[in-house]
Symmetry: C2
Subunit: 145 residues, 2 copies
């Protein structure tokens, strides 16, 4: 079972790291992050690139460059992040993978999935990166495998 893809997981871990170490000057070096979180530098770069394209991060090239949040972490929900990393229809697709069906012609498991999915969605919609980052910081939680 893999609700979130590997790239999604990496992106999430990186942003969680950033959110819990915000005391810096605002920009984070990707190489340092990749080493600290034990993620391939190039792969992480590519993932964060997408997040800047989606307007969640901003980036700066050159010496002391890096990536930083574009919006406040209070204004970025976990749902936003997952949608950027996994696709806009993340919370609308069938968890089972079946295409083109819904409330009108549901399969026998639809009721279960709907419940689980809505639960997930509302939890994610109401959780900000700041919340998660604060948690991480206060509890000295780790982000590496």
């Amino acid at each position: 079972m893999r609700v979130i893809s590997k790239s999604g997981e990496y992106g999430l871990r990186a942003l969680l790291h950033m959110a819990s170490n915000q005391d810096n000057k605002g920009f984070f070096n990707i190489r340092e992050m990749s080493e600290g979180l034990d993620i391939s530098f190039h792969f992480l770069t590519k993932i964060l690139q997408v997040l800047t394209q989606k307007g969640i991060l901003q980036s700066y090239k050159g010496p002391n460059g890096g990536v930083g949040f574009l919006k406040k972490t209070e204004e970025i929900t976990l749902a936003d992040l997952v949608r950027a990393l996994e696709g806009d229809d993340f919370f609308d697709k069938c968890l089972l993978g079946l295409p083109g069906c819904g409330d009108r012609q549901p399969c026998p498991m639809h009721a279960y999935w709907m419940g689980i999915r809505n639960n997930l969605k509302s939890e994610f919609e109401t959780t900000s990166l700041a919340d998660l980052g604060e948690n991480t910081r206060l509890q000295h939680l780790r982000l590496i495998p």
Copy 2:
């Protein structure tokens, strides 16, 4: 998002079909099923093969052969099925994909995942194939995409 792999989806759909058409002699022809459910015959064959190896189905070769349930559908839970199709640790692994962590050193999202996972697990543990099959039959639900 793909909670259940493609093979898992196919297996599930096939067994759901079987459970909702149990009035037959007990054995189902795989080719007919593959055509009815629009799944590649060879691929479905292999998936059902695994289920017979795992003791959920029994099979019969030769003319009028096929696959049938080994236990009563009342005694097969959705959880059993998913475990057979996706691995025994399906409900124990982290939905996020991170290895080797748990209650002792949780990541910031652990609480969310645990809730969602336990929810999922208990729903699946208490739902039998018979339940789902009956649903399907009574409501004329479809199993094809």
